[in-house]
Every structure is written in structure tokens, then in C-alpha cells.
Subunit: 416 residues, 2 copies
Amino acid sequence: MEQYIIALAQKAKEAAPVMALQTTGKKNTALQTMANALRAQKDEIIAANEKDMEAGRTKGLSKALLDRLLLNNERIEAMAQGLESLIQLADPIGETIAMWRQPNGLEIGKKRVPFGVIAMIYEARPNVTVDAAGLALKTGNALILKGGSEAFESNKCLAHILQKAVETCGLPSTAIQLVETTDREAVSILLKQRQYIDVVIPRGGAGLIQFVVNHSAVPAIETGTGNCHVYIDKYGEIPMGVNIVFNAKTQRPAVCNALETLLVHKDIAAEFLPALAEKLREKPVELRGCQRTCAILKEAVPATEEDWSTEYLDLIMAVKIVDSLDEAMAHIAKYGSGHSEAIITENYTRAKKFMDGVDAAAVYVNASTRFTDGNEFGFGAEIGISTQKLHARGPMGLEALTSEKYVIYGTGQVRS
Amino acid sequence: MEQYIIALAQKAKEAAPVMALQTTGKKNTALQTMANALRAQKDEIIAANEKDMEAGRTKGLSKALLDRLLLNNERIEAMAQGLESLIQLADPIGETIAMWRQPNGLEIGKKRVPFGVIAMIYEARPNVTVDAAGLALKTGNALILKGGSEAFESNKCLAHILQKAVETCGLPSTAIQLVETTDREAVSILLKQRQYIDVVIPRGGAGLIQFVVNHSAVPAIETGTGNCHVYIDKYGEIPMGVNIVFNAKTQRPAVCNALETLLVHKDIAAEFLPALAEKLREKPVELRGCQRTCAILKEAVPATEEDWSTEYLDLIMAVKIVDSLDEAMAHIAKYGSGHSEAIITENYTRAKKFMDGVDAAAVYVNASTRFTDGNEFGFGAEIGISTQKLHARGPMGLEALTSEKYVIYGTGQVRS
């Protein structure tokens, strides 16, 4: 097992410099070839996926998990279109971000280059296999994929199709490699290969992500957990607040940028909360409130301390009435996960204080937290949402998969 | 011990948001106050340092190590001037790097913010205590310092002086904290505090750096190791090559950007190597050559496989004759540490191939590798040289100590 993983990582490291020097034209041709191959071999993909689905049903996977696992014509077409959409995006590689001349005549430039080798560790969704392969290829990186055991057959089929496609374009097939084992030890071994792998990105549940960030010798980017807040300030517009809270909580509750805890200023709570509760009945949303909230809303059940730190990912919302903007900000600092936080207010000074003082990847005034997303931000693609502060923070597009190097042009300079 | 470290990390986390909101003016006043305090209390510093020196002599520390440890009037003045030089530098915090409008009217900005809490783990040099404190303060970060046991008394004295100085400026004294124990376990505990510490930067020998990057749950930035090469191409100018190699190898051999292995194209070796050897006799430099090198230079001793991967940090140089530019690049890819690599050539195509194809933090044409340095690059300050690809690569100035956040200005937008 260890030798298999090391050999695989070495092959990726060898493919990396070849991928780094490919032109944008060549990479775009490969993306189109990959998309065409998925379409041409969709029956094979569906057959492989059926094996995973069958095993999943036998294992008693939940309906939601089985749905994530499922591949059908529609979803395969969506994966192919995802690859094609990358063709339109500007290639970040080779860009000289800055260049300047030093007093001794040295010209120093900062140039965007690929990372080299990226490892992606993920769970049930087989579409991550294709998404990650496309993003890594467009940015000139070699990719190592380690998917969840539930999607093993689907991932293997997809990876082989993509490998063959890049190979027919004259690129190394080792530019995209899947760790073909369901042995859980594989992840631990992978996380030790710092000399071959430049960055590891985990995508999935909190358990997987915490395991990776806590055990990896390879630099990791933490993604995912979102305990997001909306704060209705005493100067907030009530209809706008109701609309934004409804959207942030109910439009897609199972995702990381959905609202989890609502904070309401005490001076507006008696008017705001009943208006909101009426709107929320459309879904309906279970409300877990502080004492003062429960006094206003009969349908709210008492919240416990645990509710403030829970990412429900469901139609449940914690609600707390606060005495001040400061209390709202302190609550967010204490319980928030640094993902997306919003204030609803018409007051300039209070909006500025919130925007400056709240420490999160995305801070909003008068908008829904649901916009924290690579496509909504205009990046055209997304490999995940970083909740750490090193390297990338917030939605990660193509640029997040690049590094830089300094290029220095001299005329014989030596240091004195 | 564990409780002490956790409490210290929590205090840093509490100080971070206070530091993040300080104006540039306030931070500059604190830097000046810190510099003044060092000058005013230099006798105290020297007395504390004398205790470390005494203990070091008893322990039998090497001369070189004792010299690194030593503080005197001159060195204290240099530390104070280092703090003052930061006052002149532009404050990166608060800069909006980019801002754009989405089709739905949302205005999305990317803003530079402090990391929050930085931990610095370092070895013998007490000046790192002051340098790191200045850089962290200028960038609005809270700092945790863990210095080497040899410098324990000096670091404690310096940290207390700096803490008092920031406190008199109305800033939290917990913005700068030293881990006041020589217990080695402290580092391991510190590296687990991911919930309080945003980034850890190790500075010191390879052993310390490897321990930190391999064991840290906190995101780490790898710094330091430099197995740097100069390649003399067959189209290189001989006097320029001799001058650059002499500089890169001998001007300060103990630093990470010094040259360690010289690669020479076979067609120029018979002319270049004797000219170089004559110049190197000025120092003199011990040469460890491949077979062909030893045939040309009688003074060269045979190199072993180990020499190609050794960072001598001394007046020793490995020399290898290569058949082609490709062989030189393959050698660098195999043995290099991704720090600084140079080609000496007059040929445009070969220069471009080297610059594009060599994967290192800094790649040079016709200049000495010794320029890989924050001051030489014009950054005005440096916290270390990153040899990893995540977040920062190459010399790290003030910007490397910052993160970003997205600020989104809406008018009631919800996602559809």
C-alpha cells in the first residue's frame, strides 16, 4: 500500500513539469476531448455507477447519500458542460503579476505558475472527480484523486476515461491519477508525501476535513464548515431583512453558505420576528430561540448552548435577540466559523463597523449569505470555499490553484 | 503546561481583533516607542543576554552559536533601527486589492486584512524576537513567540520591554507574547492550537523546520533550506560567470541563498573551470567535483552522491560538468530545494527555457543567487524565505503576513 501510494505520488511529480509548460490552446483541447469522452462513454459510466448504487442500497445508505452518488444522463452532461465552461476562462498561468527594476538594474518579476501536484480528498459525489480534473488541468497541475469508497466504481470509470482523453492529446496520463483502493490507510500515507505533493484539498464532511488538516504534513487548505449569521440591526429595513433571512435559510439549506443563526437587535425584534415567522411558515422552518425570542414567537422552542455552534444544514434556525451591535459581533466572533456573515442595516456607521470588525471569508451588508460561491462571485468555477486564512480565503477559483515564482533578469549583478 | 499554552493562545486570539483595527498612525507610534524602549533599556538587555552567554559557554556551545546569541550596543541599536525602518513602509492592511460589480448589482471587494494570530518558532538569534514583533505589529497581527532555550533570558527581557512599550501606547500587551518555558513539549502543544493560531512560521535549522511542517495542525510556512545552483551555459560569458559564482559562493556562505552546486556545460568547462579556480583561491573554496571536473581541476576532490544534495553553508562547492541544458535542469529538479537557481548565458532561447522550466522560488539569468532577500527585492523587510508554494513563495515581506476577506455591498439581493 505505502509503495503504491509513493509510486503514484512520484509519477504525479514527474508529470507536473510537463503539465506546467503546456500552452493554453493545448490544455483547452484536452478539456474538450475530456468532455467529448464523457459523453461518448456515458453508458459505461452509468453501468459503473449502478454497481456503486447497488452496493450503497445493500449497505443501507440514506436516500440523500444515494442521491449524491447517482449519475444519470443529465448529470453526465452537466459534468461535460462543466469541463467546456473552463475553456472559456482565462488561463492564469504565465501571467506576470508585477515586475519592477531595482536600483542595481536587476529586473524582478512575479509570475503565476502551477502548484505542481495537487491532491484532492473527497467523499460521496463522483462529479468532484471530473470538476477537480478540469480545474487542475486548466491550471497546469498534476492531480491525485482520492474519492470516497461509496463512489469507488464510478470514480474509477471516470478517471480512466479522463486519463485516456488527456493521453490522446499527447499529455501524460499520470497528470490525472486516482488512488484505486478503498483502504482507509491510503489517506494517511498520502498526507505524508510532502516531497511529492504541493497541496492537499479535502472536500466533504467536517470529520474528513478535520482529519486532513490535523494530520497532513502536506500543506492543506481547509474548506467547508459554515456556521453563518445574519444580524438584523435596529436600523434594518424589515421587508428586506425578512426577504434576505428567508432566502439565506431556505433557498438551499444543506449548503455551507446557508444561514444558521439569526441575530436580532432588541429594539426591532417585536416587529421583525412576527413578520419573519409568517414568511417562514411557507417552508416551514423550525425555530430555536433564546428566552426573549420565545416570549415573542410562540412557535419557537428554547435554544440550548449547543444550538449557537451548530451547522444544521437543514430547515432549522437558531434565533437570538441581542442588546447591541457589539453583542452581535461578539456572538459571531465566538460561535462563527469564519465563512459568511451579514448585517441588515440602513445605518452607515454601523454597516462600516460590522464590515471592518467581523473576521470571516465573506462579510455582507444587505445581501444574502448564499452568494458566497465561485460562480456568484464571477470566478466561473470553484474548487471549494476556504475557511482558513493561508493562501486562499473564501470561494477558490482557478487562481487558488496557482503559486508564484520570482523571475530575475540580470546583466551580471553580484551582491556587495 | 498545556493549560498555560492554551491560555496564552486564547489571549492572543482576543488581542487579534483589537490589533486588526488599529490605524497605521497608531501602529507606527508603537514601533517608535518599542525602538526607544530598547535603546533606553539596553543595559538590562545586555545583562540578561550575559546570563544566556554564560550558560552557553558552560554548555560548550560553538563559537558560531555564541556569536549568534550575543547582544551588544551595536546589535541593540540595529534592532531599534529595524523597528524604525518599518515605520517608513506602507501599511498593507485595509487595501482593497480589487472590487467589481456583478450583474445583479452586488459590489464585491477583496480586502487585505491581518492573519489574526501568528506563531513564530525560532532558534538561537534573539534579534528574531524584535524583528518578528515589529513585522507582526505593523501588519496588525497578534504574535506568539517561542524562541530557543539558549536565548531564553534575552528573549524574555526583550519581550517584556516590547510588551510594556505597546501597552503604554494603549495597545493590548498580549499582542506580543513569549512562551516562557524551555520545555520542549511547548512546541508540540502550540502546534495543536489551530482554533486560536492562524499561521506558524518556523525559522532555524532544517530539523526544527521539518518538525514544525510535519507535526503542525496550524497552517505552517516552510522557510529556509537552500541547495542553490548556478549553471554556466555553453553560451555563458566567462568573466561574468566567474564573478557571479565567486559572489554567490563566497560573499556570505552560511546563508540559504548561497551557491552550493555549480553546473558547467561540457563545451565551456575546460576554459571556465581553470579561470574560476584561480579566482576562488582568494578565499579559498574546497571543490568537490564529478570525474570530468577532477580531470580538469587538480585541486578538486571527487564528489559523492551525497554532495549533490548537501547544503554546505560553508566554503565548499560541488561541481558537475553536464552534457546539455536539459541535463542541468534535470539535475536541479532532482537535487534542488526550490530556493534560488541561476543560469549564465547570452543565448535568448536557452535563458527562456531555464526561466520557464526551473521550478524554484527565484530563478535568475545572469545574476547572483545571493539577491533572494526581502531587502534586495525592495520589500524593506523580511520575515523569512518561503520554499513552499502555498500562500507565499520566496522572500516574505509585510504582505506575506496578511490574509484577505471579501466585502460585499448589497441593496437587498437574494439568490435565485
